[in-house]
C-alpha cells in the first residue's frame, strides 16, 4: 500500500424496502412490516426492525414468518418505487463527491478524500449525509468510514440502524481482530468453510496466520488476497459507475478442466451469480458474453444478443452454454471461465410484459432473498450440484 490514505464511506440504508413502506403509509410506523412473503410459498424480502424482534428476517419462509409474527403486516414488493427512492439517495451521495459507486439499490461506496477540505472530515461528511438522506427521503442510513472499501463496508454493518462507525487509518488490525469471520467481506462460502474447519472463528485468527499457512488453506491466489483483507489492506478504488457497462463473474480452476459437463455446471453457477447481481442492481442486459482462457494465457471471448433485456439466470446460462459449445473446448482444457451481461438498462425501463414470465421473476426474487440470507450454497439447481469441480474462489468482479 503505497498510495496515500483515502477516506472511504460505505452507506447502507436501514431495512430499506420496509422503511419506505412505513414512510409512505404512516399507519404502518412502529409496526412489524414484512415485505414479500405474501403467498404461502413465498419468502420474506425485508423485515422492519419491529418485525425483526419477532425473529422475522429476510429469506424466512412466509409460513414461518406468519407463525412468528401473526400480527405482522405483509406487503408485496414495489421494485420500481424502491428504485426511484434509490435514485434520490444516490443523488444525495453525489452532493459530497463525484466518486459514488452504487453496490445495489440501497448501498454505495463513496471516496470523499478530496472533499474533506470542502466539507470536513469523513465523519463530518457521513453525519451530513445521514441528515440529508433523512431530509430528502425521511429514511435512515448507516455509514462506515475507513481508509479502505472492505473496512468501511464492515463498519457500516456494526451499529444499525442509523449507525456511524469510524475506523481511523492504522487501527484496522485492532478493529477487525475480534470480529467474526462471517464479516470478512469478499470471503466466499467455501473459504469460510475451510477456515471454520481449522477451528478459526474471528478475523483475528486469519491475521495470526502467515502467508504460507494461508496458502495451504486457500491456494496461491487466495492467500495473498485474504492476508491483505484480514488486515484491512484493500487498495481497490471507488469507481463511479452510475451506468454500469457490464456485470460479470469468472472463476479460475485449480486444475485445467476439459470435461464439458463440468464446464456447464460452472457456467450455471456463474450465470446465477450474474443474474443475481443484475437483479440486485435493478438492471437487465441484452448481450451475454463468455470468457474463456486456455493455459497459459490465450483468452478468447464470445458474445450473443438476446432479444429483450434480461436478468434471467437460465437465459444467461443457455446463451453462455451455446457459446461455449460452439468453441472447441472438448479438444482443449480450460483454465478460466467467465460469464458477463452487458448493454444494461434499468429494469424498470423495460416495460414489456411477459406471457409466462411473472411467475419466474417472483421465483428469482425468492431465490435471491434466500441466498442473501444463507449464502450462495443455500439453493442450487440439481444440475449445478451434480458435478462440482474443485476450483478457486469466485472472483467478485466489481461493476466496470
Amino acid at each position: 500500500m503505497t498510495s496515500p490514505a483515502r477516506t472511504i464511506l460505505h452507506a447502507d440504508m436501514d431495512a430499506f424496502y420496509a422503511s419506505i413502506e412505513q414512510r409512505d403509509h404512516p399507519e404502518l410506523r412502529g409496526k412489524p412490516v414484512i415485505i414479500g412473503g405474501m403467498g404461502k410459498r413465498g419468502v420474506v424480502s425485508t423485515a422492519s426492525y419491529e418485525a425483526r424482534k419477532f425473529g422475522v428476517h429476510s429469506a424466512l419462509p412466509a409460513s414461518i414468518a406468519h407463525q412468528r409474527c401473526p400480527h405482522g403486516i405483509f406487503l408485496p414488493t414495489r421494485m420500481a418505487h424502491y428504485a426511484a427512492v434509490s435514485r434520490q439517495i444516490m443523488d444525495v451521495f453525489a452532493r459530497y463527491t463525484p466518486l459514488v459507486e452504487p453496490l445495489s439499490l440501497d448501498e454505495a461506496f463513496m471516496d470523499v478524500t478530496d472533499s474533506e477540505t470542502l466539507f470536513g472530515s469523513g465523519e463530518t461528511i457521513a453525519k451530513r449525509i445521514q441528515d440529508d438522506v433523512r431530509d430528502v427521503t425521511q429514511l435512515s442510513v448507516s455509514i462506515g468510514v475507513a481508509a479502505s472499501k472492505s473496512v468501511a463496508k464492515i463498519a457500516s454493518d456494526l451499529r444499525k440502524p442509523e449507525g456511524l462507525v469510524v475506523v481511523p487509518s492504522n487501527t484496522e488490525l485492532m478493529f477487525l481482530a475480534p470480529l467474526p469471520l462471517a464479516m470478512l467481506w469478499g470471503a466466499g462460502k467455501r473459504t469460510q468453510e475451510r477456515f471454520a474447519a481449522r477451528g478459526m472463528s474471528t478475523i483475528g485468527d486469519v491475521q495470526d496466520l502467515s502467508i504460507e499457512e494461508l496458502r495451504e488453506i486457500c491456494g496461491e491466489g487466495g492467500a495473498e488476497h485474504y492476508w491483505h483483507l484480514a488486515r484491512g489492506l484493500d487498495d481497490r478504488g471507488v469507481s463511479p459507475a452510475r451506468e454500469a457497462r457490464s456485470i460479470s463473474h469468472e472463476t479460475t480452476f485449480r486444475d485445467d478442466v476439459a470435461d464439458r459437463d463440468a464446464l456447464h455446471a460452472v457456467l450455471l453457477d456463474l450465470s446465477e451469480a450474474v443474474g443475481r447481481r443484475l437483479r440486485k442492481h435493478g438492471l437487465k442486459g441484452t448481450t451475454v458474453k463468455l470468457k474463456l482462457r486456455y493455459p497459459p494465457f490465450q483468452t478468447l471471448s464470445r458474445q450473443a444478443k438476446v432479444e429483450s433485456p434480461t436478468w434471467d439466470d437460465t437465459l444467461v446460462y443457455q446463451c453462455a452454454r451455446d457459446l461455449l459449445d460452439a468453441t472447441r473446448t472438448t479438444e482443449r482444457p480450460v483454465r478460466l471461465l467467465g460469464v458477463g451481461v452487458s448493454d444494461l438498462v434499468a429494469a424498470d425501463d423495460v416495460g414489456q410484459t411477459q406471457l409466462f414470465g411473472a411467475r419466474d421473476e417472483r421465483m428469482l426474487e425468492t431465490l435471491d432473498a434466500i441466498k442473501d440470507r444463507f449464502g450462495e450454497g443455500a439453493v442450487r439447481r440439481s444440475s449445478s450440484s451434480t458435478r462440482r469441480h474443485d476450483r478457486g474462489d469466485e472472483i467478485y468482479d466489481p461493476v466496470d
Binding site: K305, Q318, D349, G351, Q352, Q354, L355
Partner: protein, 368 residues
C-alpha cells in the same frame, strides 16, 4: 462417381438442397452436398448438422453410379455457369471433373463416407396432411417464435395433433400465435412435438413447385422429425425442452371483455405510420380506444410524434394500451385475412387478435 444428367434437372435439385449447407462450419463435410447415382436416379443430400434435406429425381436420361461429396456452393456456381443441355461428373483421381458443353471444371471433393448418414425414422408417429394448409399454419405462427439463442422451446414451433385437428403454436414469451385446422390426421391419440424453426423454413422453401393438392407426411420419433413432400425429404432434430402451457395464457372472453372489429388495411397503415416515430430502442406505440374511434399514436423524444385515427364500433370506457409496434407489424405481415377482431381489457392485460380463420394472436403490452 460417374454421372450424366440433364443440366436443368440437376441444377433445379441442387438449388433446392445446396442452401442448407453452411458456408462456415466446424465440420468441413457439412459444406458439401452428397451426390448418389443409382439405377437411373440421382439423390442429392445437404445438411448443416441440424437440418438435412434430401431430394431424388429420375427424369429420363440420368445415367451413372457411385457417390461423391462436392462443395455445395462451388458446385452450384459451376453448374449454373455451364452451358449445354447435359452435365457429366467423372471421378478422376483426387478430383471430380464436371463437364457441360465444351467447358470443364475440376472440383476437389471429400470422401463421401464421411458425410453423415441419415437413417430413415423407423416406427414413430405418422401424420399426413395437405401441404398448403400445413404451410399456412406455419406461416401464421413461425414469426412469433424466439430468434434469440438459448430459448430452446421458444426457438421452435409446437405441433399438436389430435385425431381431428392439427395445431401449430409459437411464442417468444411476449407474443404468441396459434393456428389450427381440422384434419383427419389418422392418429389415435393426441401427440405434440416442438419442430425446429429452421426445418419449417426449409419445408416452405422446398414446397415451391409442388401441386396444390400435395400432401406432407410428418413422421416423428423421440428426437427426430422427417417431413416428406413427394421425392423430397427433410430431417431435423426436434427441439428439446418443454413448451410452456400456452392454453393457460390464451385469455377467455371474460378476461378480455372488450371486442372491436378492425379493418385490416387501415390498421396496417396506422401501425406503419406510428412505427416511424416509435424510436429505435424499447419501441412502443399507443392504441387508444375511445367512443367509436381508435387512435394509434407514438411519440419519441428526439424523433417526434405521429397520430392516426380510424373509426370503430366501440362503446366501452376509454382504454389506452401500448404495444411494441413490431409485434403488431409482424402479425399483419404474416396473416393475410382482411378483417380482424381485437379483444382487450386494460393497459396491463394481453391484447388478442382473432381472424375468421382458426387463428389467435396474443400480444403482451408495454406498461411503463
Amino acid at each position: 462417381m460417374e454421372l450424366v444428367s440433364p443440366r436443368e434437372a440437376f441444377l433445379q435439385h441442387l438449388q433446392l438442397v445446396a442452401p442448407i449447407s453452411p458456408t462456415r462450419s466446424p465440420r468441413p463435410i457439412f459444406k458439401d452436398v452428397l451426390l448418389e447415382a443409382r439405377d437411373g436416379s440421382v439423390t442429392l443430400t445437404a445438411t448443416d448438422g441440424d437440418v438435412t434435406l434430401r431430394t431424388t429425381y429420375e427424369t429420363g436420361g440420368v445415367a451413372g453410379s457411385g457417390r461423391a461429396a462436392l462443395p455445395a456452393a462451388t458446385l452450384l456456381s459451376a453448374v449454373r455457369s455451364l452451358s449445354g443441355d447435359e452435365i457429366a461428373i467423372h471421378e478422376k483421381g483426387a478430383y471430380h471433373e464436371l463437364t457441360g458443353g465444351t467447358s470443364v471444371f475440376k472440383l476437389k471433393g471429400d470422401e463421401p463416407d464421411v458425410f453423415p448418414t441419415i437413417e430413415p425414422i423407423e416406427g414413430g408417429k405418422r401424420v399426413e396432411v395437405p401441404l398448403r394448409a400445413f404451410l399456412e399454419l406455419a406461416q401464421r405462427t413461425m414469426f412469433a417464435a424466439a430468434r434469440e439463442m438459448g430459448r430452446y422451446a421458444f426457438n421452435g414451433v409446437l405441433l399438436e395433433v389430435t385425431p381431428s385437428e392439427l395445431t401449430l403454436v409459437a411464442t417468444d414469451g411476449r407474443r404468441l400465435s396459434l393456428a389450427s385446422m381440422k384434419a383427419e390426421t389418422g392418429v389415435s391419440e393426441n401427440a405434440s412435438v416442438i419442430l425446429p424453426l429452421k426445418g419449417l423454413a426449409q419445408l416452405q422453401r422446398a414446397s415451391g413447385d409442388l401441386p396444390d393438392d400435395a400432401k406432407v407426411l410428418i413422421v416423428v420419433d423421440d428426437n427426430r422429425v422427417s417431413m416428406r413432400l413427394g421425392m423430397t425429404e427433410l430431417f431435423a432434430q426436434l427441439v428439446e425442452g418443454e413448451f410452456p402451457n400456452f392454453r393457460a395464457v390464451v385469455p377467455a372472453d371474460t378476461q378480455i371483455p372488450h371486442s372491436v372489429d378492425i379493418v385490416r388495411v387501415d390498421f396496417e397503415d396506422a401501425i406503419r405510420r406510428a412505427s416511424v416515430t416509435a424510436g429505435e430502442e424499447s419501441r412502443s406505440i399507443q392504441l387508444r380506444f375511445d367512443a367509436d374511434a381508435l387512435t394509434i399514436s407514438s411519440r419519441h423524444d428526439g424523433v417526434g410524434e405521429s397520430q392516426s385515427t380510424m373509426p370503430i364500433r366501440y362503446g366501452g370506457d376509454v382504454v389506452e394500451i401500448r404495444f411494441n409496434p413490431d409485434f403488431l407489424g409482424d402479425y399483419l405481415k404474416h396473416v393475410p385475412d382482411s378483417s380482424l377482431t381485437f379483444r382487450f381489457k386494460d393497459r396491463a392485460s394481453a391484447g388478442c387478435f382473432t381472424t375468421s380463420e382458426e387463428n389467435t394472436y396474443i400480444v403482451m403490452p408495454i406498461t411503463s
